[in-house]
Amino acid sequence: MNPSSTPEAGEGVRPYADRDDGIVQVSFTLPVRDSRAARITGLEIAGQMGLSRAEVVHSQPVTAGYTYLILYGSFDRRVDVDSIRRDDFDMDYMDHDEVDAFAASRIGRPVVVVGASTGSDTHSVGIDAMLNLKGYDGHHGLEAYEAFSVHNLGSQVPNAKVVADAIAVGADAIVVSQTVTQQDLHIHNLTELVEMVEAEGLRRRTVLVCGGPRISDELAKELGFDAGFSKGTLPNHLATFLVSSVAQRSATSSPA
């Protein structure tokens, strides 16, 4: 028996603060004057979120008519974490040499990659980290791999140019970066790219990957990409995914 209150496997989990108590912190601004009414409205919202024993631990005016609130409350339901764990969950990444070896034996030609930071996004550090020789955090980018032939188009690149260049060089993969997410700019921009790739009939033969600090694999898949990469990504992660995907596509398409 575990004498601490941490739930056993299968029991389902809930938040843990001091013990298995469900406590969460919630904070937000309400467009209501700093007043008791603001605090009670905050509690009402916490209640609607399913939090029991909610309390406001802090409230302050933001400007006339707006109040910032910090609340704590207990989320008492349990979530079955076991059903969430899936097999394909945490990929095992190959290192640089392994990727090159894998590509040499399984693909036998350089994988052609077109990359860019697209739309009006000028943030190039992320895509450069993936593609440029210099790479990221001491790991070389894809340009350093024998497995790849890389075309880094830079930043502020319109989707139309990405697609045109991909066609021109016969890209196996298009990899794009998006950093500005305000007002869902990235969603619009990434959706546009997928639509263009589909319109050009390239979708089946092109591996489509996006990345950025607020991109998740789930979001990427929802938008029609094959994968999404976020903070902490190293070039070999992308490399592993690309060579695996290209090899798999060749494998499934060659018998056909």
Binding site: T63, Y68, S120, T122, K231
Partner: protein, 521 residues
């Protein structure tokens, strides 16, 4: 402030000399160029506002027409002056005529050159006097209401909707913010025109339009009057419309402008000649009308390593200063930039930052040095960011910075939510109050780590400056000396908007601004 770094004055002088040469070189190389944006600015100064139904500003229509007709080498002012003389129309009607095709500006009979110059020069002078008068009133208001003591806190709003920005700006002012800067939407920099009217959609920022300036200015003035403290307004003279934004800022009473010589080249991939020509006029305008400009060396530390790049920051400060100075900005109006961007895990990073910040302060004693917060290494954890911001705030006050852009706890995540700035400003007030007298109380050990580091960085800067003086600024940018970003003279956006001046090129504005500035901040 008593100097603490024991710097070698000889090296400082050598840096200045090298920067003077670099700037003189640049000025010589761009002297025979004008740009569509420079020309549009003249029209705007002359009073041409507004856009057609498709949102194309009249200034663009007119300049594009002259460009197409091949007449821009003579300067748009000449053609417009001639048009005014020939048609007896108002400037606006004339422009509308060009827009609807009823006026063929370059096909009109050409009047006496002197007469044309006279009419435009008169218009220009009158408008400048009008603007100066308005700015004098503003200066009076500033003095009457009073400002906070330095450091002034500089706060960005970025909602995309100018009316929301007003709400956010009020929160900023309520919590002691001194300068509100509405950052621009991602797309604006590369637009070769200034959008028109109020805007409610933008990404990562709000479009800079004259109407948006007006809306913000009115709201902030109201707040200032109600609360008895003057709050400044700032925007960005950058991108493809640098001088036009400067003009608009003056017209709407802005107090500060981010206005760097190289940012557009390095970070927006704008052609270097285009930017250097544009920056010159934008800075001439800002200089003349008492607007404080901020340079953007902080950006280098976001793409290059902050420790390794420190000498390049200092070198760039000298260059940026000199280019501004040579464009007519007095030192008190030049806020040279620097940033707190060393990775939080670096041993003694705080001492390095202290050394760098103090160095900027001592090298530019007459400037309003501007200090930028950590952003690059900030992540999704607001408490971590807030701790870094606290030490950033401490260095700001410990080294006597004039302006500090505040760091917000969600810096690593998104443009700030309304309360994020409030929380950030509370941090600023806390540190600034609690450590108010710190700069006067602490000294650095003679020959110690802090002094040595500053001396090293200064030496490194001199070496860079001397090499750049040798090879020229353009070549240096090509080598990636600033921010590890490399750009080439022949590349970049907006090159199509560069025009060689003809021998009879006429620009009434530059001449008018050549006089002693009327207003100083």
């Amino acid at each position: 402030m008593t100097p603490k770094l024991d710097l070698d004055e000889g090296i400082v002088l050598a840096c200045r000399a090298a920067a003077e040469q670099i700037s003189a070189d640049v000025m010589a190389r761009i002297d025979d160029k004008t740009t569509v944006s420079v020309e549009r600015t003249i029209l705007r100064v002359l009073g041409l506002e507004g856009a057609d139904e498709e949102g194309v500003p009249l200034a663009n229509t007119v300049v594009d027409e002259v460009l197409t007709e091949g007449g821009l080498g003579r300067g748009v002012a000449f053609w417009v002056g001639n048009g005014l003389l020939q048609t007896d129309m108002s400037l606006e009607s004339l422009a509308k005529g060009v827009a609807d095709g009823s006026v063929e500006l370059c096909a009109l009979p050409v009047a006496d050159e002197q007469a044309v110059h006279d009419v435009v020069e008169r218009g220009c002078r009158e408008r400048i006097e009008e603007l100066s008068a308005a700015l004098s009133k503003r200066r009076e208001m500033r003095e009457r209401l009073g400002e906070s003591t330095q450091p002034l806190s500089y706060v960005l709003t970025a909602t995309g909707n100018v009316y929301e920005d007003v709400v956010h700006a009020r929160a900023v002012a309520d919590y002691g913010g001194d300068i509100v800067a509405v950052i621009r939407s991602t797309a604006q920099s590369l637009l070769d025109y200034v959008p028109d009217g109020p805007t409610t959609e933008g990404f990562g920022g709000t479009f800079a339009t004259q109407e948006n300036f007006r809306i913000m200015r009115r709201a902030i003035d109201e707040w200032s009057e109600e609360n008895g403290r003057y709050v400044r307004l700032s925007s960005f003279c950058s991108g493809l419309c640098m001088p036009e934004i400067a003009q608009m800022g003056v017209a709407e009473g802005l107090d500060n402008m981010v206005n760097d010589a190289l940012y557009g080249i390095l970070y927006r991939d704008i052609n270097m000649i285009r930017t250097l020509v544009d920056q010159r006029l934008s800075r001439a305008i800002n200089g003349y009308f008492g607007i404080v400009i901020n340079t953007g060396e902080d950006n280098y530390l976001r793409t290059a390593d902050a420790i390794r790049a420190a000498p390049s920051v200092v070198a760039s400060q000298f260059i940026n200063f000199q280019l501004a100075s040579d464009s007519g900005v007095p030192p008190e109006q030049i806020a040279v930039g620097n940033a707190f961007e060393i990775h939080p895990d670096v041993p003694n990073g705080f001492l390095l930052e202290l050394s760098h910040a103090q160095l900027t302060r001592e090298l530019f004693p007459h400037c309003q040095v501007k200090y930028m917060p950590p952003t690059r290494h900030m992540n999704g954890n607001p408490l971590r960011t807030h701790a870094c911001d606290t030490l950033f705030n401490l260095i700001t006050i410990a080294t006597g910075q004039s302006i500090q852009t505040i760091g917000v706890p969600t810096e690593g995540i998104f443009t700030p939510h309304i309360h994020d700035r409030v929380l950030a400003l509370e941090n600023v007030s806390y540190v600034t109050t609690a450590a108010a007298g710190l700069a006067d109380e602490i000294e650095f050990r003679t020959g110690g780590f802090i002094q040595q580091r500053a001396q090293e960085v200064l030496k490194g800067a001199l070496q860079i400056l001397e090499e750049v003086a040798e090879e020229g600024l353009f070549g240096a940018i090509g080598e990636g000396r600033f921010g590890d970003v490399s750009r080439h003279e022949s590349d970049g956006r907006g090159a199509e908007g560069i025009v060689s001046k003809a021998d009879d090129y006429f620009n009434p504005l530059v001449e008018a601004l050549g006089r002693e500035p009327l207003v100083h901040s």
